[in-house]
């Protein structure tokens, strides 16, 4: 047993944390949130140079990491700083799907920081069901509608899932296509997101693309497992920031002539938050450490983590705001953004209830 990070991962964590602490203040981020494209190209490029993207890929894929703990280390730091640049959707999900489909040239561009991707998979009625694909492909033409596609407007290419055969909820018969951003028949209706960044509704009207794989479900399942684990790590980082801010505030804010943290009613709730933080950290370790186990074991650990992070995240986001009082309701204060990141994470890759049901089903299997 050894719970220490390897030297390489420790170095990556240190340099990433230092960079974000120095360069990614609340004011800087609030300015980025207002930009038309919802991100900073400079931050993207500099983080790519630090190795953030390379850490998400194995050596065979052209990177220098790719294992569970490489990815969790990166995303925990991104979460700690509330980074809104699309590392999750563009680099990890998009990049790893391309890597799984052998598109090594594009993966190289991604690691170098010069490529943006979007994955157009979810649909207006698919909710959190990965197998639900109504968008069709017929004679090489894609037709349908994709919902809340992250980073859609900034992407050079979209990876689009489409049904080649079978019923709307079949796992078989889902193909993945690579579609250029300027393809005929592709329209994107973009919008900002509550917790930062941008997404869009993507409409496909006879769009042509390059076939990546006919076993799209297998590729998506593996990459979404990675992404769900990464989301848990990102949320853990955000929860750590919320906990730290609250701890500091309770020690400095005075009402009735004393620091409010000396009131037992608040002190005990702070203690509960710290206890839940340890639970959350362990759940993320379980998920990251079991990524290469057989699918059922892998997915049980991932669903356990996502469920636990959903519950602990809600507690920490809500209690942090409550114990701060009004100041935490203001956009100028770091916690406002962090709390939104934590809560909105419950709406990605399946929410608390979705993963509870999945854990039950996998346990019974």
């Amino acid at each position: 047993m050894n719970f220490d990070l390897t030297e390489e991962r420790q170095m990556l964590q240190d340099s990433l944390r230092r960079y974000l602490r120095d360069k990614y203040s609340t004011a800087t981020r609030n300015e980025i949130l207002e930009r038309p494209n919802g991100m900073s190209e400079e931050v993207w490029t500099q983080l790519a140079e630090l190795g953030v993207i390379g850490a998400m890929f194995t050596e065979e894929q052209g990177g220098f990491g790719g294992a569970g703990f490489d990815i969790s280390v990166v995303f925990e730091e991104l979460g700690r700083a509330g980074v809104v640049e699309p590392f999750m959707d563009s680099a990890l999900i998009g990049g790893r799907l391309l890597a799984a489909c052998g598109k090594t040239d594009l993966v190289e561009e991604m690691i170098g920081g010069s490529l943006q991707l979007a994955v157009a998979h979810g649909e207006p009625t698919s909710r959190y069901d990965l197998n639900h694909v109504r968008t069709s492909v017929d004679g090489g033409k894609l037709n349908g509608r994709k919902a809340v596609v992250m980073n859609a407007e900034n992407a050079d290419h979209l990876i689009v899932s489409a049904r080649a055969s079978g019923d709307v909820a079949d796992e078989a018969g889902i193909s993945l296509y690579l579609v250029a951003k300027d393809a005929a028949g592709l329209t994107i209706q973009g919008y900002p997101l509550l917790a930062g960044g941008r997404a869009g509704e993507v409409t496909l009207d006879g769009v042509e693309g390059e076939l990546l794989t006919e076993d799209g479900f297998a590729a998506l399942s593996d990459v979404m497992a990675l992404a769900t684990m990464a989301q848990c790590a990102e949320t853990l980082g955000a929860m750590d920031t919320a906990t730290r801010l609250t701890n500091d505030y309770l020690g400095t804010r005075k009402q009735f002539g004393r620091p409010i943290g000396t009131f037992q009613a608040l002190a005990h709730r702070m203690a509960d938050m710290l206890i839940e933080m340890e639970q959350a950290r362990s759940a993320v370790i379980n998920a990251a450490g079991n990524l290469r186990e057989e699918t059922r074991i892998r997915d049980m650990n991932i669903s356990a983590a996502k469920n636990l992070l959903g519950r602990a995240g809600r507690l920490i986001a809500e209690e942090s705001i409550q114990m701060h009082g009004g100041i935490a309701m203001t956009q100028e204060y770091e916690l406002a953004h962090i709390a939104k990141r934590i809560t909105m994470a419950d709406h990605r890759f399946g929410d608390t209830d979705h993963h509870l049901e999945r854990f039950i089903a996998l346990s019974a299997a």
Binding site: R127, Y128, F256
Partner: protein, 399 residues
């Protein structure tokens, strides 16, 4: 024991329903239902509609132009208003300042300010909280020094709701710094156009501008704008806070919110079935509904006692705590219900769907409302302060 309304109460409810059906403009109720801003003009229009009917000031005595409803009538009105997605009445002038003027103000103050509240001449905001004085309101520092016929006011107020629309502010100010905190506070009426006042917006985490900071730099206030006696302001402030806590349980808001959750969950599909048929989601909804049914009766019990002359004290604190927990839980259910569509920031972004969706207008604002309503358990005396009151009264044998 009889849980039903009397015939008179039922007749009153029918009258309120008919009024909402006939007089509440649809574009107004649509905005409220979708969580949009009504704006100053829209709000004033609703006030005018109510005033025309004589219902703008439900709790005022008739001699001041109010409806003089009892607590049960007020409850019926609030319940119907929420069910019809009517705008709320902006409370600062009508529900908070007015009772203070009616009880402690001079005849001149009553004759001048009260009619202007009804006809919409003035928009009042509340100058209570300060950066260092939130839950501990009595520690406020904004200073007013008597100088001939004026007070000179210096200091800062914060969390001033809708202060950007206001032309008047009622303020708690410190007039004597050398006595016990509560004994050196006065209650002043201040014209927002006076030189030296600056209003700065505070943008909340859901992007809205509903609260402000108000700065006072050598602001001259005529002494006739002092309400009651100098240094007795804390008494008036406490009296006002008991009025701030009417409709504290928010039963109507919760009922309307729960209906919205169910409507969304019947349309939203999860795993090939309506979300409302999902046992985990259905259980979450049922738990809140069970709590809400009980709280609704608690609310009516306390209201009935108040209507019969009993003064709600600690019960109001109980309703505040439980009522906000339930409202926030319903906000949480709504954001869960819409799934990935909780994430977009703009409701109009998901128009033009080619498939059955939860009403896209309803999906858009639910997550923003979830965040905005975190305020419910913070303002008006945080839930921690309310629990302190409950514990002190129930365990310590008196207030």
């Amino acid at each position: 024991m009889d849980l039903s309304y009397t015939d008179e109460e039922l007749a009153f409810r029918d009258e309120v329903r008919a009024f909402m059906r006939d007089e509440l403009p649809k574009e107004m109720s649509d905005k409220i239902r979708l969580g949009d801003e009504l704006g100053k003009e829209g709000q004033e229009k609703w006030h005018a509609i109510l005033n025309n009917k004589g219902w703008l000031a439900p709790n005022w005595p008739k001699k001041f132009g109010g409806a003089e409803w009892n607590a049960v009538q007020r409850h019926i009105f609030e319940e119907e208003a929420a069910a019809h997605h009517a705008p709320r009445i902006v409370p600062f002038g009508l529900s908070m300042l007015a009772p203070v003027l009616q009880k402690f103000g001079s005849k001149e103050q009553q004759d001048y300010w009260l009619p202007r509240l009804l006809d919409g001449s003035d928009w009042w905001c509340q100058g209570y909280s300060e950066p260092g004085a939130g839950s501990d309101l009595a520690s406020l520092k904004t200073r007013a020094v008597r100088d001939g016929d004026h007070y000179i006011v210096n200091g800062q107020k914060t969390w001033t709701t809708l202060g950007q629309h206001a032309n008047m502010i009622f303020c708690l100010v410190r007039t004597d710094p050398d006595v016990k905190q509560q004994e050196g506070i006065s209650f002043l009426l201040i014209d927002m156009d006076t030189p030296g006042i600056q209003v700065r917006p505070i943008i909340l985490l859901d992007g809205t501008h509903e609260v402000n900071e108000v700065f006072f730099d050598d602001v001259k206030v005529p002494v006739e704008n002092l309400v009651g006696e100098e240094n007795k302001g804390w008494t008036y402030a406490k009296y006002l806070l008991t009025h701030e806590r009417t409709n504290i349980a928010g039963v109507g808001f919760s009922q309307a919110g729960l209906n919205t959750v169910k409507r969304i969950a019947r349309a939203e599909m999860a795993g090939g079935k309506p979300l409302m048929a999902n046992p985990h989601f259905a259980a979450r909804v049922a738990q809140v509904e069970i709590d809400l049914r009980a709280m609704s009766t608690s609310n009516l019990r306390i209201i009935s006692a108040a209507a019969a002359g009993g003064a709600p004290g600690v019960e109001a604190s109980m309703l505040k705590v439980k009522g906000t927990i339930i409202r926030q839980e319903i906000n949480d259910l709504a954001r869960r219900a819409v799934g990935p569509y909780a994430m977009p920031f703009a409701s109009e972004a998901i128009e033009g769907s080619n498939e059955a969706l939860p009403d896209p207008h309803e999906a858009g604002p639910v997550a923003a409302q979830y965040f905005n309503n975190r305020k419910l358990s913070i303002f008006g005396g945080s839930n921690e302060i309310q629990r302190g009151i409950i514990a002190k009264v129930m365990m310590g044998g008196g207030q």
